[in-house]
Symmetry: C2
Subunit: 459 residues, 2 copies
């Protein structure tokens, strides 16, 4: 069977009992985290522009926008929700793109239309995740360097596979869905730092959903779209050399368990997360405050330091890519949360004073599994007393987020969006995701639509 | 100014009086031809699937679908109309993609919403064409070989530029429109031969229109999206080596005059068109019929012969890529038209007998301006009388179509769609395109929606 045929058959036939339950539990955490950042992201200007341009309203429409009273057709809902989920850059990450910001909006929208159970949605999520990983592992280069945003490059085909599973398409239709999705690949790195970056996630979600609907209705595509010499992998490949030889691992290896999802505890660039963990740990341990500090030396990897390029940020947007801000905020506020990502907080005198005491040192060694990172990050503190204290070495932020962290983030995100819902009750409901009955989304309480004057943190 | 800035400024500021009127006349012919093939293509299965999946109806909706009573929002109308325009592979071609099948549906849909004049639509078309050419000339390789369909790769950004012009956006908004359009690049060669191929044109039209609307409402994108090291040209480039150095020629050179549009007189692969011209010319000259013929030798270029790979076709779809069918049809029927593209006609005994008498000879020399073609094509006829007759050498099918040919094609396309409109009257109206007043599309007579049983020729 062709590679595309394998992928289509996997998408069409995989059921919950064919995968480890732990895979669905990982998906559940991805789902819950994504719902939270999607609600928070719904306040952002780019999302508001998208809603008004597409004419979303409170009446009619198959599917709801970011758990609010606003509704639209499912294809539009996936577009808006995917963009909202990625708008704050607070959604989860994996080696080849932002999985949940694409998969969750597509599955949520189509799931609402067909009245899918929680278990069916989680199964579809795992299918989308695995297909995404199977595509990404065959291209050894870095898509970014050529210009393709992996979220856009793999997202539409993976979302098409997920929706093919959710809708129980036949294998041939699933192949066509993936083929139609693959032809909607897009998303340029050049657009990072603009409102178009989160739009890439929404576009992939929406394209995958439309692709599955078209295939279900009989639209045809190539049955070798992935491995064809003029197919998806060739087209997005960094330098060629795509692996078309190794056997398809779908259904035997579970990449969602091997790779996991990296959840963000802090709404800033993921490159700073391990150093934040380190300094918060020291803070608890030593009980110091800002006045005690003479100098903070943060030791991080080469690529991390390149990305964290804003050493003296003055806006919340730039502060997302500033290790100095992240550490100063952690010292001053004991946390780095959405509420701290405001221009005023970034410009506060106490913040600026402390940022000036922070310097970055490079750990040249690279983590063999994650070459963009050093094997660990560490923070060294020099106190007014002359004492020097070294944090523990933090090797993995990935997967490090606890259920308590997730709950805190969930509450924080809903509060950021001005929601008056009982966030704890909704979080509790979502703990039993796998048991949620058919049509559960229809009975969810709704958040009021974001107003023009809603919070506009950095996005 | 950055290259993207130049392009955005051109899109924002170009007016009819800044370009040669001959450029708009070329655009007019592209517009009229595209309208005809769009109406004919509306009968095809892929277009029907798209309409029903997207829920197009006869009530409401900003814009009309393929001149029918069906309506949808403009973004959807551009998607359906672009797919319809490309569905029969009968739309015009240019060196880097199918221009009209992308530009016309986008301009027609948004033009209907804002009530644009004919002159404004033609100006926007020329802007889109020129931007497309400016992008394409900077990438010297063949996008096809890597997997990108040039129509999808350049179409969305070019359509965004056209709509930015139509809507009179400012230069900054036009740059953002092009940036949002560029991130929606897609379309894989692997999907050629399936219903997804024409969808590429629709997707580009729709994406460009949405991009311009989003930018008009304030969505931002990179202001260097074309030339950025991780921008559009790098991402789609065949082998790298993109030309970012030569000055932007927009507004000084007019590629629509240099390159023109290649209109299809016959609804079969463009590679066979010059040989069809040659044999039809001989047929008029000599007045032979099929019984007189012992052998036909058709002399064409190497690449043309590779593409025309179906030597004994049995379906209308395959016959589109058969020189033997094309020439036999020309001899038997005195034309190659939509009515001949049926499986029954392809399988008719007289057709099969004549196809068996045709052989293809290769002219190895390549046209320096169009390396996929020989410098000319020619047909040699051996008659039962022993006489051997050689046709003229046909060097250019491109631009060769006369107004009478266009009118005949227009009528043929409308008849194919089962239209009962006065096609001649509509064609006459469109001769004065430049004078059409604001809102002219609203007063066009409407074709009834295609029925499920409409004609389904090869697509």
């Amino acid at each position: 069977m062709s590679l595309t045929g394998h992928i289509g058959t996997f998408a069409a036939t995989m059921a919950a009992d064919g995968m480890p339950s732990e895979a669905r539990e990982r998906a559940r955490r991805g789902f819950v985290d994504c719902l939270a950042v999607m609600v928070a992201g719904s306040t952002q200007e780019g999302v508001r522009i998208l809603r008004s341009t597409l004419g979303a309203g409170t009446a009619g429409g198959e599917a709801s926008l970011h758990l609010s009273e606003l509704r639209a057709c499912a294809v539009t809902a996936a577009l808006v929700n995917g963009t909202a989920a990625h708008a704050l850059d607070y959604d989860d990450t994996s080696p080849a793109g932002h999985r949940s910001a694409v998969l969750v909006p597509a599955i949520l929208a189509e799931g609402e239309v067909i009245g899918a159970t929680g278990a069916a949605m989680l199964t579809a999520y795992v299918v989308g995740f695995e297909v995404w990983s199977e595509l990404a592992r065959r291209e050894p280069g870095q898509l970014h360097e050529r210009g393709w945003h992996p979220t856009g490059a793999y997202g539409a085909a993976a979302a098409a596979a997920a929706i093919a599973n959710l809708r129980r398409l036949g294998s041939i239709e699933a192949v066509h869905a993936i083929g139609i999705g693959a032809s909607q690949t897009g998303g340029l790195v050049a657009n990072f730092g603009s409102m178009t970056k989160p739009f890439h996630a929404g576009r992939a979600a929406s394209s995958g959903l439309l692709a599955a609907r078209l295939a279900a209705n009989g639209m045809t595509a190539s049955d070798t779209v992935i491995e064809h010499p003029q197919g998806l992998l060739s087209a997005v490949s960094h330098q060629g050399g795509v692996d078309l030889e190794s056997p398809c691992r779908l259904g035997t290896a579970w990449r969602i368990l091997e790779q996991g999802l990296s959840f963000k505890k802090y709404p800033v660039c993921y490159c700073s997360h391990r150093a934040i963990d380190a300094i918060l740990d020291l803070r608890v341990q030593l009980g110091f405050d800002a006045a005690d500090i003479v100098e903070i030396e943060a030791r991080i990897g080469t690529t991390q330091a390149t990305v964290l390029e804003h050493h003296r940020p003055t806006t919340a947007l730039a502060a997302k890519f500033s290790l100095e801000f992240a550490l100063a905020c952690a010292v001053l506020d004991g946390d780095v949360a959405l509420a701290h990502l405001t221009d005023a907080r970034v410009q506060a005198p106490a913040m600026r004073d402390l940022m000036a005491k922070i310097r970055v040192a490079i750990i040249a060694e690279r983590d063999p599994l994650l070459p963009g990172y050093s094997p660990y990050d560490q923070v060294q503190l020099r106190l007014a007393s002359g004492e020097v204290r070294l944090s523990k070495r933090v090797a993995r932020a990935r997967g490090h987020i606890t259920d308590a962290d997730l709950r805190r983030k969930f509450n924080d995100c809903l509060a950021f969006a001005g929601s008056d819902l009982d966030a704890d009750a909704m979080f509790d409901l979502l703990q039993d995701f796998e048991e949620l009955p058919a049509g559960w989304t229809a009975s969810l309480p709704r958040i009021r639509p974001p107003s023009r004057s809603a919070r506009t943190a950095a996005g």
